[in-house]
Each structure stands twice: as structure tokens, then as C-alpha cells.
């Protein structure tokens, strides 16, 4: 096929391709880039090493940082949640990375600046989603189209279809060449935020919050620690329901968390339920939104009956109240 004399060039080209891929797409390559940047006294552009394993990763801000300061005034529909999540993710992007979304907005007659506006932004973003919905019915591919552009998104969808399987954001991102990292990160952030806005509440809405998320003096240890969830005052035996569809990742008991459940809802969203008296599901089991998964209790390191409810976005704990429409009473009680 190739004349023997041409094989020197062929082998050189192929070796160069492998080196280019390894340089940009492997942690080992990142290590070498960091070491060479250090040796030359330059700033390395390599991603953090562990970011090579979170599916979609880049140098942008993380989803928890983008969470709104105040909770929504009313519950969102699915479309509104997606639009609001997209609006927040757009705000966290660099001006250069916003270009595809701004171009689409201009094409649709939506003022690009309105996408970032606090009050008009979610409605403006929703128009973009509606315009893309026909060509990209799935949320993952639609968000890729919005943040990376329609051509790259269509290409990625076709490639994933050729490989077989569902077009998750991780698989779509894998099809895109270097240069689209920030877009795929923003799409993942938007999806995680939208999913968090759509979560139900695990116990009756009326259950008061007795210890909020944030740093506090631990009631048992007496030291200042981050309280990574909210404590909801409920009686022992209160039904604990899944806040969204998901898979039980852990159902166990220990001296600190008591009987604890962890449910993975996909799209970078995980919830945990601690101090239960009874666990009603097993690891690996699929659960649906509203399904009874546990009964609350007072097990583990606890000073009274309550449910510790924890929400994690991209493996970082966030305040669940920032994603919940503010309709139930908050009580400033003693920390549990």
C-alpha cells in the first residue's frame, strides 16, 4: 500500500499523532506538561490530574459555585429549571466561551446580553432551548448545541449513535476535539443545576430546618466544622422519599451517619440521607421520585430525631435550600 520509502514519513506522522493525543488527553501527558512548564518557569495550561476522570472537565468554575444565592420564589417546571441552570452556567463562562450561545441568540433575534441578565436571562435562554428542541430533543445534546454550537453537537450526536448507546454528556464530550472543554463543562454545570432545581423534598414540606448548611460549632464534638447538609426535624419513623429517580449507591450503618443512604441521580447530582431508623432499599437498586426509601430516626452521632439531608453537585456538597422553592418554614433551632 505504501512504498517502503514512504513508511518513514508514515511512521513519523502516526507517532506524532499518538504523542499529540497523549500530551493533551492523558494525566501522564499533563504531568509532563506540568514538569516542563515548571522547568521552563512558565504557567502550565494542563488540567488538574483528577479532572481527567470526571467525564467533562475544564478550567471553568464548578457547578456548586454557580448555585444561586437565594432560592427560587416558586417551583420550576422542567423547562424552567433547564433554562435557569443554563443561564447560571452561561454567567460562569468566559466571554470567549459564550460565543456560540450569543451567536444563536442573535440569529433568533434575542439580545445576547439579555442571556446574562438576572431577571430576563432565564426567559431569554428558554427561547434558545425552544429553538433547538426540534433538532436536539434530548437535553444533553441540546445543551451541547447551545454551548458548543449546532454543528459540533450534531457531529457528536452522530458519532455517539455510530458507537451505539445513549448520548450522555460524557460521551458527547468525548467526541469533540480539543478546544471545546469549556463548552462541555458549562453544559454539565447547566444540567447538574437544572437537575438540582427539579428535586423534590425528602420529608413533608412542613418539617423545620433545625441546622442549616454551613460552618457551625458541632453539637457533639464541640469543634467548628462544615455542616454539609441540612437537618430536618422529623419524628422517628417519618417516611423518607427519594427526591428524584436514581440508583442507590450506598445503604449502610456506622457510628457517625447512623443508617445512611446515598442515591445517585446521574448528571452529577447525588443525595444522602443520614440517621435513619430503617433502610428500605439496597445498594444498586433503582428508585423513582417519591418512592419510600427509608424511615427517619436518631441513629449514629445525633442528639435527637432528625434527618440529615445532603445534596452534592459534581461531588461537592451544596446547600439544598438554595435549590428549593421557599415555601416551607425555616426554624433556627439548636444544631443537631
Amino acid at each position: 500500500m505504501f512504498s517502503r520509502n514512504a513508511r518513514g514519513l508514515l511512521d513519523f506522522t502516526l507517532a506524532l499523532l499518538c504523542l499529540w493525543t497523549a500530551w493533551h488527553h492523558t494525566p501522564a501527558g499533563a504531568l509532563v506538561r506540568r514538569a516542563s512548564a515548571w522547568a521552563l518557569g512558565r504557567h502550565s495550561t494542563a488540567r488538574p490530574l483528577l479532572a481527567y476522570y470526571d467525564g467533562v472537565s475544564g478550567t471553568g468554575v464548578s457547578a456548586p459555585t454557580l448555585a444561586p444565592g437565594t432560592p427560587p420564589l416558586r417551583p420550576f417546571t422542567d423547562g424552567e429549571a433547564l433554562a435557569y441552570g443554563t443561564h447560571l452556567a452561561l454567567k460562569g463562562l468566559s466571554p470567549k466561551a459564550r460565543a456560540p450561545a450569543f451567536a444563536l441568540a442573535e440569529e433568533l433575534g434575542v439580545p445576547p446580553d439579555s442571556l446574562l441578565d438576572e431577571s430576563r436571562g432565564p426567559a431569554a435562554v428558554r427561547k434558545l432551548h425552544e429553538a433547538l428542541a426540534k433538532a436536539f430533543p434530548q437535553e444533553e445534546s441540546r445543551l451541547t448545541a447551545l454551548f458548543a454550537g449546532r454543528v459540533p453537537a450534531r457531529y457528536a450526536v452522530e458519532r455517539v449513535a455510530a458507537e451505539g448507546g445513549t448520548p450522555s454528556l460524557e460521551r458527547l464530550a468525548r467526541q469533540l476535539p480539543p478546544g471545546y472543554e469549556d463548552s462541555t463543562v458549562a453544559a454539565a454545570q447547566a444540567l447538574a443545576l437544572a437537575t438540582a432545581f427539579g428535586l423534590a423534598w425528602p420529608v413533608p414540606e412542613s418539617a423545620p430546618v433545625t441546622s442549616p448548611f454551613g460552618y457551625r460549632l458541632h453539637p457533639v464534638l464541640g469543634t467548628r466544622k462544615l455542616h454539609t447538609g441540612v437537618d430536618l426535624s422529623v419524628r422517628v419513623g417519618t417516611a423518607v422519599q427519594a427526591v428524584a429517580d436514581g440508583t442507590v449507591r450506598r445503604a449502610s450503618e456506622d457510628a457517625v451517619n447512623g443508617r445512611v443512604l446515598i442515591v445517585d441521580h446521574g448528571r452529577g447530582v447525588t443525595t444522602a440521607y443520614c440517621h435513619n431508623s430503617e433502610l428500605l432499599v439496597r445498594p444498586g437498586q433503582r428508585v423513582t421520585r417519591g418512592e419510600l426509601i427509608a424511615r427517619s430516626g436518631n441513629t449514629g452521632r445525633s442528639t435527637g430525631p432528625h434527618l440529615h439531608y445532603q445534596l452534592e453537585l459534581a461531588a461537592q456538597p451544596v446547600d439544598p435550600l438554595r435549590f428549593r422553592a421557599r415555601s416551607s418554614p425555616l426554624v433556627d433551632g439548636s444544631a443537631r
Binding site: 511512521d11 502516526l14 492523558t26 470526571d54 469533540l176 450506598r250 450503618e253 461531588a315
Partner: protein, 262 residues
Amino acid sequence: MNRSPTADRPEGPFTAFSRFLGHFRWAFMPLGLLALIAVGIHAAADTLDDRLLAVVDFVDAAFDRLVGRFDLTAPLVDLLSLERRTFLARALALSWELAADVVLALPALGYREESAPQAPSWRLPQTPSRHSWRALLVRCLRRPTSMRWIRPLATALVAVAGACTVARLVQGTVYLSWRELFGEGVADGVARGLALAALVGLLWRLGARAVLRNLQHADEASELHARGFARALAYGLPGSALVAPLALAAALDASPLLSFLR
């Protein structure tokens, strides 16, 4: 008189350039093999992080149950908080990948091609006969060791995954950068063609050499250290056990070979 059909032709600039590059094979071939294997290992490791998280969850739950039984050890439950498990799973995936790089990719740096008197220097089986494919495979069958079988097989599987990753990047880069210049149809056709060519070329030119080099390395190590049944089984087993799951993941989850034909 048998003469090569190209013997009388003057050497063109392309051939001269190719020949010139051929003088540097000692540098770029080992690095290319190393990179191909490293890319394949990462493609495989990237598919394992969710499963690692499940393992971390399971082990952490068991550990917490154990230490939580006694007042003295109960504070150890806090050692791995709920939110740090993901971090740990990714750190494990990274360590696993780097260790697999050492076991599978580093031997590629020992790749050498030796010139034979009557053949051009770029030709593959110019190594002494005891290091030829045939001689190595015969020893694999007659004096099997875990290293002789597992390492080359694992190298083959991760090399395929690596070739798929490179081909995928070639296709995406060519399609998205050429579409504006040459139009949809041309860019798509060229991108598909180049991706397929890259895939075939990598498997043919680098993949086979990566496997051969690993086979040579495993053979040398086995000859030196793995005499007798117990040694044949045990020598290099930890390294082989480390790379075997990654090789399996590479074959099952990271090698969409047929997708380049669709």
C-alpha cells in the same frame, strides 16, 4: 537480471524527506509506542472510575461499620467523609493508570530496530531470530508464564483502544476545522477517511510493534526470573493483575472499532 523497478528512478524530495525522517526512528518510534499505549490505558481507566466509586463506597461502608463498633476507633468514621469518596475514587483511578503506564507503556522505550545487511532499516522483523514473532510465540506455547501471556495481550487490547481514541480525535478535528473551508460533504468524507486510515495505520505500524516489544520484554524477564512452575505463575503477577482489568475495560468499553465504518 533482477533489478528493483525503482532502482533507476531518481529520488524525489518526498522520498528523500521520508528517508531523512527514517534516520530518527530510534527517537520517535519508542515515544510513539509509549504514547499509543498511554492513550489506550487512559481510555480504559476513564471507563472504570464509576466502578471504582462503587468499590470505594463498599469498602468505606465496611470500614465505617467496623471502626464504629468501638468508642476508641469511632472517630475514624470521619476519616473518609461522604463527599471525599469521589475524590478518593478518582485518585485511585489516577494511581491505577500511572501504575499501568509503568507496567505496559514504559517497556516500549526499550524498542530498537536493527538493520540487516540486505534490507532497509525500517523493516520490522530485523531483530535477532530469538526475538522474532515466531520464536517468541513458540516460547509462549512451550514455556508459558503469566507474563508472557498477559502483558502482550493487555498491550494489544489497550493499543486498540488507543488507536480508536486517536482516530476519533482525528475525525473530530478534521471535520470541524475543514467544514467551513470545503463544505459539509468533503469535510465529512475526508474526516471519515482519515480516521479510518489513522486507525488502520496505527494498528498496523505501531500497534503490532507495541505488542512485539512487550512480548520481547516479557520473554526476557521470564527467561531470567521465571523458571519452574511456581515462578512462571507468580513472577510479574501483581503487574499483570494490575493491567488485566484495564485491558478488559479497553476491549469492552473503549474500542468502538465498528463505529468508524458506519
